[in-house]
């Protein structure tokens, strides 16, 4: 991705940005990526993106966490260190539920975030090179694939997005 050439189109609002996405999709240009400071409704549909598989990772991590939490407690309180609490039997399921629930949530949360980081190659010490200085603040950026001759792409984009307000083509 890094050595590929692209043209940066910057917007200060999501509505013209979405219009531009639709316009570029209809033309013969192709969009490499769109970067926004917050999730924009309808953007993933406009970009025809495939559904993320993060929820599957979340479910698997949650199931592991729940099972681990339950079985770990069951092992502790029946085999490893049996103690009588309040006259209950060793294997008293209701008292395991809160911890099982918490571990399910913990495993899901940590698992989903790790899966996201691994999938998007967010490894430690990776340097952050912002494409635009205000990308995490209030600017919306479309990256359009550039042809061999960058100038031709730029000029065709300029004419394509002429009707849309507050556009800045870098």
């Amino acid at each position: 991705m890094k050595n590929k050439k692209y043209i940066t189109v910057v917007f200060d609002d999501e509505v013209p940005m979405l219009q531009a996405v639709h316009k570029i999709q209809e033309s013969d240009q192709s969009i490499q990526d769109v970067l926004t400071p917050f999730p924009v409704h309808g953007l993933d549909k406009a970009l025809k993106m495939k559904r993320t598989r993060i929820p599957v990772a979340g479910f698997i991590c949650g199931a592991i966490g729940g099972l681990f939490g339950f079985l770990f407690q069951a092992w502790i309180f029946t085999v490893d260190y049996p103690l009588v609490f309040g006259g209950k039997p060793y294997l008293s399921v209701p008292s395991f539920i809160p911890v099982t629930f918490e571990l399910t949530v913990l495993f899901t949360a940590v698992g989903v975030v790790s899966a996201l980081f691994i999938r998007s190659r967010f490894i430690p010490r990776k340097k952050f090179e912002p494409i635009h200085d205000r990308i995490t603040d209030d600017r919306f950026v479309i990256l359009v694939d550039a042809a061999e001759n960058e100038e031709s792409t730029r000029s065709s984009l300029q004419s394509l997005l002429a009707g849309i307000s507050n556009v800045e083509i870098v």
Partner: protein, 387 residues
């Protein structure tokens, strides 16, 4: 835009026949099987509570969405509104309990000789019980009527002042409902086991009401869409209703477990007796309750695609409705009917009667007005929102 539901003769006949058959079968089973009178009254209370819950859940749904200035529900607001039209009928049915007090509530007996119940007599006495019942229904009916009136006014004029007035009624309803839903559940359900109490009981009943109301709304939308109405309700609306059903089913389980865990851990005989009775004499229903109200909606609606399929969602909603019938059964029957309890023709027939009557009243109210509030300021947002 001016689409209006027609309550066809065929549907009307089916519902009228169902209600009549339910009533006749109820009477027949009373004469044939001669069930204990406590079981009959407990059934009346159970069905009252279930359908009042569905009606009040609809009112709560409307009020909370209006207070939050929500837009998405605008296209389907007529449906919860129609549910609330059952409240006046429910009042008449609830007033019937006057004849069954002695069978249902131990505290209503005059020769108690019971220091615990005598100490509670300031709240639990017959005149005050019925005064409270009238107050609850008066408040619920007047405030939902107020919301309805302003929506009707919005229908033609679209003046923002009607929307603001509707918001005031919604706020008043929420405050009134927040208090009365707790107290009414103490009065009608918790006081069956008058020695026992649980501080979370009002919330537990309330969330059951809201979940069953959501489930009923989903089934009703499924029915209306199959009949060819409400094309404006898109997959996004269905998805949001599915999310609510999913989330509040989990919340119901949370409250159920909060009540169970503390009583189980506390191990105080006067509290544990409540669950001992239910787990030993009603073991199957005790676990079925959790299965139908938690396991099925939790795994059945976890995946995003499944929440967006109306047929599947309506199926899960139907299961949840049965689950909440069982939930009320668990709350009411062991205390009220005890060893006379059972599930037989009487239970099925009485529920059939109530369901037929409820749907008849609701669909008649739905047919009396157009399905969309044309000039609602939020309608445009609701028609275009994405979930």
């Amino acid at each position: 835009m001016d689409e209006q539901y027609t309550f066809t003769k065929r549907v009307r006949n089916i519902l009228a026949i169902a209600a009549t058959a339910g009533l006749l079968l109820t009477v027949a089973s009373i004469f044939i099987f001669k069930p204990d009178s406590s079981r009959i009254w407990a059934n009346v209370l159970l069905n009252n509570q279930l359908f009042i819950g569905i009606a009040l859940g609809g009112a709560f749904f409307l009020a909370v969405h209006r207070i939050a200035l929500s837009g998405w529900h605008t296209a389907l607001q007529r449906i919860p509104e129609a549910l609330t039209s059952f409240l006046p009928v429910a009042f008449l049915l609830m007033a019937l309990l006057f004849f069954g007090m002695k069978d249902l509530y131990h505290w209503s007996h005059s020769d108690l000789h019971d220091p615990v119940l005598e100490a509670k007599s300031a709240w639990l006495n017959l005149p005050f019980f019925f005064i409270r019942m009238v107050l609850y229904f008066a408040g619920w009916i007047v405030l939902t009527w107020g919301m309805k009136k302003q929506t009707d006014a919005l229908m033609d004029s679209g003046d923002i002042k009607f929307h603001n007035r509707r918001k005031i009624f919604a706020g008043l309803f929420l405050v009134f409902f927040g208090i009365t839903v707790s107290t009414s559940s103490w009065d009608w359900i918790m006081s069956i086991d008058a020695h026992w109490y649980s501080t979370i009981f009002g919330w537990y009943v309330f969330i059951g009401m809201f979940v069953s109301s959501l489930a009923f709304m989903i089934v009703l939308i499924w029915f209306l869409k199959r009949a060819g109405y409400l094309a404006v309700i898109r997959v996004d609306h269905i998805h949001d209703l599915g999310k609510l059903l999913f989330a509040f089913s989990i919340f119901w389980t949370y409250l159920w477990f909060s009540q169970y865990l503390l009583i189980w851990y506390g191990h105080i005989p006067e509290e544990t007796i409540y669950f001992v009775q239910r787990r030993e004499d009603f073991e199957l229903l005790f676990f079925l309750n959790l299965g139908l109200n938690f396991i099925i909606p939790f795994f059945g609606l976890m995946k995003l695609d499944l929440k967006r399929k109306l047929n599947w969602l309506a199926g899960v909603a139907g299961v949840v409705l049965i689950g909440h019938w069982i939930d009320y059964y668990q709350m009411i029957m062991p205390g009220a009917a005890g060893e006379h309890a059972g599930i037989g023709l009487l239970e099925i027939a009485m529920t059939l009667f109530y369901a037929g009557l409820f749907l008849f009243v609701v669909l008649r109210a739905l047919a009396s007005k157009p399905l969309l509030v044309k000039k609602d300021p939020f309608l445009e947002e609701s028609l275009h929102f994405e979930s």
